[in-house]
Each structure stands twice: as C-alpha cells, then as structure tokens.
C-alpha cells in the first residue's frame, strides 16, 4: 500500500517510492539520505502540524510537514 509520509502512523516503517517536487527539494532530501528505495521509520513526534521525524539509516531527520506531504512511501 502506498501512502504519503504524513499519513504514516507513528512507529510504522515504509520504503520511499517517489518525491513529488522539483530538483531543489529532491536534492535537499537526497543530501540527508532520503532517496528512492530507502527504508525509513516514522517516529512518534510532535502533533499540531509539526514536522515529521523519521529514522533513516540510524539517524533522525526532521522533515517539515509540507515537504513530508510530497514523499510517497510503500508500506505493508
């Protein structure tokens, strides 16, 4: 099943499928290791439209909600 990163439940894992966005966004995400095929886990993070925090390659990365809504992930 494919979902947006924002729709992932806290603690759920997924594999990045696509990023909807221009080169700038793609490159910024890539520089932090957020590339297609990468497995990531969403951490239980702040509510009220705050950033999404994911664990990717044993590092925590905070992603602004707007940007997170452009990331498509596949999960079981």
């Amino acid at each position: 099943m494919e979902k947006l990163l924002t729709e992932l439940k806290p603690g759920e894992q997924g594999t990045m499928v696509a990023v909807h966005g221009g080169r700038g966004i793609q490159a910024r995400l890539r520089s932090l290791g957020l590339v297609k095929g990468q497995t990531l886990r969403k951490l239980p993070a702040l509510a009220w439209g705050g950033p999404v925090v994911v664990e990717v390659k044993r590092t925590q990365v905070a992603i602004g909600r707007g940007m997170a809504a452009r990331i498509l992930v596949r999960c079981k």
Binding site: R23, G24, Q26, A27, R28, L29, R30, S31, L32, G33, V35, K36, G37, Q38, L43, P44, A45, L46, A47, W48, G49, G50, P51, V53, K57, R58, T59, Q60, V61, A62, I63, G64, G66, M67
Partner: protein
Amino acid sequence: MRDMVAERRIRSAPQKSRKHLENDILLVGQPNVGKSVLFSHLTGVRTIASNYPGTTVSYAMGRMRGKGSTLVVVDAPGTYSLEPLDEAARVTVDLIDDAKRIINVVDSTHLERHLPMTLELIAQNKPLVVALNMSDEARHRGIRIDVEELSAELGVPVLSIVAPSGEGVKQLVDTCLDLQPLHKPTHNESGHPGHHPHIQHPAPTGRGTSCPGHVHLDRDRIWQRVGELVEKVQTLEHHHHSFSDRLEEISIHPFWGSLLALAVITVSFSLVRLIGEFLITGAVGIIGEPWVELPFGTELLFDKVLHPPLIALSRVIGVESFLHKLLIGTLVDGRIDFMQSFGILSSGIFIPIGVVLPYLLSFYFVLSLLEDSGYLPRLAVFLDTFMHRIGLHGYAIIPTLLGLGCNVPGIMATRILESRWQRFITATLISIAVPCAALQAMIIGLVGRRGIGPVLIVYGTLFVVWLLISVVLRLTVRGFQPELLVEIPPYRLPTFRALGTKMWLRISGFVREALPIILGAIVAVNVLYQLNLFAHLAAIAEPVITRLWGMPSEAVVPLLVGILRKDVALGLLAPLNLTGKQLIIGSVLLAMFFPCIATFVVLFRELGFKDGLKSLGIMLLAVFLTGSVLNLILR
C-alpha cells in the same frame, strides 16, 4: 572551466569579494562530524564547536608545522554534498578548487550517511585521505568497520581517529602529507568506484546546466554504491537501549517533548539570571526578594577596591575640573555611583567588567551547555509549527538564541537558513528586537531597580515587536513556505574542555573588541557634553522625543551613543531621573534603535547594501511606532 569558476563566485553572494584561498590541507565533511575539533588539534587555533549542524558557517584558516615547512590548513563549513544547494556547499566547492590535499572527515557511527560525499570527493581527483572520526563512539555502540577493506574499496587511505582526544591524528597528518598529487584522469578508469565517468563533475553550478536528470540518476547510483560498500565493511553488534536513546525518544514525543522544551527554556533563562545576579550582587534568587545574600560579587569588589582610591583622586583633581568629569564623572551624594557617574575610571570600567561580563559568562555558560548537548535542533523541531506562522521555520530559533548573547554571531548564523528571504527576516528581527547580553545585563541592572514588573514590560514589548514585524513581513510575501529539513544529532554529554574553549573564545572576544569601544564611547560622551553640542541636537530631536515618546529631550544623547554601544547608552539613562514609564520606553527604544556599530557592519555585509537599507527602514518605522504606542498606553 574558468567561466564556471567565475560563475560560481558570483553566485556565492552575499560575500561577493571572495578570494581564492590557496590551502595545503582542506578539511571537508558533513555538518557536526567534528571538523572544527580536528582543526583545533592540527593548528592550535581554537574555534567554536557545538553539537548541531551548521556551527561553522564560514571557513576557518590556521597554520601547522609539517615536513619542515608551514602549512595552511582550512576548515570548510559542513555540507552534506557538493551540490551547491546552500552557502556552505558553495564555499566548500570553491575551497576544493584551491586545495592541495583534502582530509574528508567522516562520522564512523553513520558511515552510510557520509560515504556519498566521500565518493563525490574522490571524483574530484584531488589527493584525499578519509578520517573516520568518533571511532570510540562507534566501538561503544557496537559498530565495527573494516578500515583496510574500506580503503581498498575506495582506493584512498582511510584512518580511524578520535578528534577530541587526538587519537590517530598524528598518523592522519603523516598519511596526508605523504599523498602524491593524482595524475589527471585518463578516459575511463573503470572498476575504480569513485571515478565513474558520469560523476566526474558533481557540482555543475546548479541551475541551468545541461541534462540535470542525468546528474540525478548518478547521484541515486552513488547511494546504491554506498549501500554495497557499507554491507561489505561494516558489522553491527546488538545494541541495547541506553539512557540517551530514551531521552531522544522523549524529547520529540508530543506530550513529554513539549513539557521538556518548556522546562529547558524556563530553566535556561532562570539559570542565566541566577548566575549573573550572583556574580554581580552575591544574591541568590530568581524573582522578588533573594533567598540568600552572600558577601560576594562585582558590586562589592568595586566598592571595596576601586572606590577609596577614586575618591582620593577626586579630592586631588577637584570636583569641578574637566579632568574630573572625564576620569571620575559626576558624584552622587558625595560618592561615586558606578552606574551613574560616567567617568572612564568609574562607569567606564564598571559597566563592562562589573555588569556586562558576569552576565556574558552566565549566558554563554548556559548557551554552551545547550549547544553541546544537542538539544537545540530538537527545540527547532518543537518550535517549527509556531515559527511557520510567522514565515520562518524552526531552525531560525538558533540564530535568534545566539543573538541573545551578541547580535553579531546571531546574524552570521542566519547563513544556516536556506533562502535569502528567511535570512533577511531573521537577521532584521535579531537586529531590531533581540537584545544582546550586554544590553540585557543593563536592563536588569537599571530597570530591575524599579522591580520585576518594568523588566517584564520591556521584554514583553520586544517580543511583541518581534512577533508583529515578522507577521507583517510575512503578509508582504505570498506563497512562500520555508520547510524545515534537518538532521537531529544524538545527545552528547558536554565536555568541560569544549565548554571552556568556547567560553574563553567568546568572552575574550568581548574584552578585546567591546572594551575599547565602551571606553571610547564614554570619552566621546564627556567631551561632547563639555562642548555643549548635544543641546543643539536635543533641540532638533525634541518634537519626536518629547511629544511622541514622552521622553526628556536629553534622551537624544543615549539614543545616539546607542549606535556605538547599547550597554553604555542604557547607562546614560541612569542620571536623567526618569520616571518608571520613561525608563521603560527609553530601554525599549534603545534596544530597537540603530544596532550597535558592530552589528550594523555585519548586517550590511550579510544582507547586502539594498536589503541592509530595507532592514534599517523597517527598524526606523518600528522604533517610531513602538515609542508612540508605549507612550499612549503606559501610565
């Protein structure tokens, strides 16, 4: 090639005058891997290192002895890749052009995140050695790296080091100096991992170059290649949950995280005040009556040590003489009031050493703890939602916090923000509505004499101004949505050594740079008073100062002196016999009206001339309105 370099240089505004920087050894790596620590080790030049991405926003240069000659070592700002996405990457790409040898500093605990840039660097065809830093932490976490295998796979020397203790640094230097310049790449060195023909130029100056899609494809391939590499050289042992893991979970948790953030902010501010107050007056307490008062502090020291000889001097030179005015100032009830007398030897020494220095020590101690622990990026995450409302994102809180110490490093730190617009708003807000520690020390010292209420009104007003300006600026630019994207570093226990170095750098910077200006400002004030020049100025400024703001016309003097130093200027309000209301308005106006000379210079350098002027325009309008509104609503 020459054109490409030229273009890059133009694009690397705001500092248009960047020169070539020939360097023998260049340290390159991602943010927060300990480059600055290694740099200090190599050169003995102490630099500020913290635990969050973006501490070094510009490069640092130093020298070291090696192979019988002096070598220039440069510490590049941390960058995640050589794609010129931000200022740090652009600066780094420029530095690589001019580098003879490169040390790529890599975090051993997150090899897979750092190797992509290593591959990019290998493709640059410069003599390169990879330093696996934090190897002690990796061992501790059960991460094992086969260094020889990695070296063989990459085709460049790889060494393990622990930068803070210096372990492995000597071998690193020897290996680096033994590097021979690589031959120019012949066609296709196939089989050599980094020398993939398609990633030969990983930094084709961003926008507008040919077939960007191609670059993408290859960059994705870099990540694939890194996956294979890490599989081969790294083994992970089982790692059980530690205390810091628990703390990391808690600090981004919806409920506990909010509680923690509130607690951290409250404790930090209280601690700054507690330590600062104690160093000055010997009183221990945060609000209201102190809990304990000890015979300690700079006030007591000055009264006991400096007061008697100054009084003796005063008798010798005579109260009415010009020399007395200049050296000792005016006596209050036959005594020297170190806050009000305004001579070079009285207030001139007391304000910087007796009031500002204790607060700076206290502030930087607390800030350094926050910086080194790794809490700041978490605070940025916590505040992101709120900061979005005002057109910024959470990370803008870091320059703002630095600005509470001194506006100059605060404005410099705005470089960690991606867009020009965010940098403009954040820097403008800092220069107008974020009072530096020196000014705060004086606000608490002077306004605090009238109780905690007036102090809170001053701070509250500045906060409202900060909020209103950002909201108004946000309305002027539509559809702009900055997005937070930041790596959250692990928590680390601050070390005394790092803490000490940082505090020493910041405090000695203050003594060296601010002290002469403070003394100069006091001389200037006394001389100008003597020449009676201020009377004319006061007459010109009177309509605004008196009618609109309700201040006495003499307040024009502190406002003007504020352009030199804010702390001295606020001190000048002391002898004016202001009412409580006037003191509040005066403090707020001083905080907002023209930034001090050092901030002024940095503001224009960082924003450029045009945006600097815009920023000043916003400042003047804000000062004008704030003074008038306060005069209307306060009683």
